[in-house]
Amino acid sequence: MSRYLLPLAAAFALTSFAAIAQEPQKGGEAIIVFKDDFDSMDPAIGYTVQSWTPIKAVFDGLMDYKPGTSELEPDLAESFEISPDGKTYTFKLRQGVKFHNGREMKAADIKYSIERVCNAATQSPGAGYFTGIPGCQDMLDGKATEMSGITTPDDYTVVFQLTEPNATMLHVFALNFSFAVPKEVAEEFGQDFTHHAVGTGAYKMTEYSPGQQIVLERNPDWNRDGRPYIDKYILQFGVEPTVGVLRVQKNEADILGEIFPPAKYLEVSQDASLKDRFVTAGQLNTNYMTMNFNIKPFDDLRVRQAVNMAVNKQRLVQVLNNRGTVTGQVLPPAMAGFDPQYQGYPYDPEKAKALLAEAGLGDGFTTEIYFQNVDPWPRMAQSIQQDLAAVGIKAELRGLDLAAFIGTASKPDVPPMTLTEWYADFPDPSNFYTAILGCSGAVEGGYNWSFYCNKEIDDRTKAADAIADPARAAERIGEWRKIMADIMDKDAAWVPLFNPNRYSLRSERLQGAPEMFSDIISQPFPFDAVWIKQ
């Protein structure tokens, strides 16, 4: 066996040598183009794919992910300890870390930053992540001005005391919402902090021109193993994605900060001259169809299973030029807990008809599918409509604009079926459950549009998330895998459709390890981990 392995190893060594030969270079500037203005550069507010990574460049949190991986490591923290009962998290902070205004970042800043998110006046969309820390809910309700669950025994120690053990807490401490902001600047500018963002991160924000551009410049005080490399990032707004692709092709811009425009996909992916600059990657996203448990006949398991078997997902993905991978499960492949062996319900229209007949719907029934009326959703809806018609289900299509769609889909008795997708905020299976499959999300205004609520499953997820000891992570993920299989096998709560790919095209001069351009945490890439060929 070793005989075969040796040449392979040699070949591998050669390729890695070639990679090493390309040492990262310091300096240069990169231009990233975006279609619309950012929602915000304030880490308590910004909550879109576009602003998420730039915020990470300007701010830091207690935890972070190793660039190009979903592996957690301490960042502003030097080390941390979790108590055996999983309820107490003690962080020792790095000393000498400075905010961009020159002041040293201390334990009180960590406490303030999270209290700011829980402060009702901030209206942070991330507050829900901290309600497990005593005092957050009280602050949201206006009953407290600080959080009793966060203490700072000294300038470099922060202690979090949770009400219940929570295995996802380290991910929460790596979320943008827990990033450190200096109190004096945040209070001076209030809601305009986004235009005056000051953090501890690898880049300082030196310009914010609404509608035009944001300029980020390298923070000379920030160093993680020689990173960051690029001196300056210019984030330009108002660039149509198709025009943005032209600019990247001509090296007038370095990469798109947006989802790659579908209209350009075929042309660019088949252009041999762009092969080295075009990357296909996964993302923490599943596209799926909900079936409302409150609305007949979807209260019947057999009907939900029949719909699962009626949809031809292979053709659906073909309709989208194969820009994704067919799936039968809830979790996307890049997520811990994804089961590569799990197949889910097969495409079997005959079996689907038999199940419908068994449920007393041999003559079929009429229903509605709600979706967002921008490409590719209407095309997907039409494809599914045909599949359902083949088994006798007549589905009327209801396309709405995004805001109206969300408003309608979240009404418990309105949408029989919706076509939608979910992006996880962090790489943990619980982030693919609570809001979209858990009982707490199955309310008006929630995101569980199947209005699926299985108390037993809910309890099992809570038990799994109580396993906070990192040493037992594998056991916990195993339990999640079983939960996700049961949700499909026993309840058929969704029709999982496919996992969309993410594509990125970069300029000739923008360099970096391939995994940086397929990073699932930071899109289009971690700002501190790539460089410009001079």
């Binding site: 915000s40 507010i45 009702a120 149509e240 600019r247």
Partner: protein, 306 residues
């Protein structure tokens, strides 16, 4: 004149009030819930309710409108739901680019339209006249994005003479301004042509001809100034039109004007911004027309403002 101006200003204020009421009502009846958008997807129903109260969205609609109007007269357009920043600041940031593009576009329209129109009128009935008029019709009826994308591909992407969109120096302005000039120039050509033809029939033109003046001198010196009035009126309308934003051209060329802001806000149902840009557009249109009316007597002394 002062009485006329006062009356027109009161009229304008009433128009703007009407626009604000209609927009406010229409946006209110959208099936979207701003409180939920602000509160985010991790928020509980109670948190959403709290945000609704903070935004004052739990109040009856007339109270909400009253509050809006009260802030409006103080120059406060509220804060964007999504960006949380002042709408006035967002709009102000877009105005220079919009004004610059407007100037460039009107200049191109005049250059293209008046030249061709005067030429066609002078050569009335000839093949040249017909060619110009058909050409004008073609450009007027071409969709904006076709011309915009064609110019972008040819002159920026292939030839590389201009940057591929963006905002900055004079080079960035050329393609979007020319696009709008080609699109609008056709209208100016038609208006100029018919106006010039009408003036050409006047007695003083016959006199000039009788004096033995050169044909082009007649057209340039004697006819054009007298034929300018409809063109001025069109410029007035154009100011309003351009200041309210040119969505397609701004999008294609990545021009950071009002049109882009409007389009973004509509897609995101960012109601304070939609309200703000609608009012600014309405102001621009009202003002543009007012300016055209006020300038008219200076061009043609026979016009009196009452």
């Amino acid at each position: 004149m002062p009485a006329y101006l006062a009356r027109r200003l009161v009229q304008s204020a009433l128009i703007l009030l009407g626009v604000s009421i209609i927009t406010f009502l229409l946006l209110h009846f959208l099936p979207a819930d701003p409180a939920r958008m602000v509160a985010g997807r991790t928020a509980s129903a109670a948190q959403v309710e709290q945000v609704r109260q903070q935004l004052g969205l739990d109040q009856p609609i007339w109270t909400q409108y009253g509050r809006y109007l009260w802030k409006l007269v103080q120059g406060d357009l509220g804060r964007s739901y999504l960006q949380r920043t002042q709408v006035t600041e967002l709009i102000a940031a877009r105005l220079p680019a919009t004004a610059l593009l407007m100037l460039g576009a009107i200049l191109c329209e005049l250059l293209i339209g008046v030249t061709l129109g005067a030429f066609a009128a002078a050569r009335r009935g000839t093949a040249a006249d017909q060619a110009v008029m058909v050409g004008a019709l073609v450009f007027v009826s071409t969709p904006q994005f076709v011309i915009a994308l064609t110019l972008l591909y040819v002159f920026a992407y292939w030839l590389g003479w201009f940057p591929i969109g963006g905002f900055g120096d004079f080079k960035h302005l050329v393609l979007p301004a020319v696009t709008l000039g080609l699109l609008g120039g056709g209208w100016y050509a038609r208006v100029t042509r018919s106006s010039v033809i009408e003036v050409l029939r006047q007695d003083f033109v016959r006199t000039a001809r009788a004096k033995g003046l050169d044909r082009w001198r007649i057209v340039l010196v004697h006819v054009l100034p007298n034929a300018a009035l409809p063109v001025i009126a069109m410029i007035g309308i154009d100011i309003g039109y351009f200041m309210s934003g040119i969505v397609v051209v701004e999008s294609v060329f990545g021009w950071p004007g009002i049109g882009q802001l409007t389009w973004q806000a509509i897609q995101q149902i960012d109601i304070p911004i939609i309200m703000g840009v609608t009012l600014v557009s309405a102001c621009a249109i009202v003002l543009g027309n007012l300016i055209a009316d006020l300038v008219a007597p200076f061009i043609d002394p026979r016009i009196k403002l009452r």
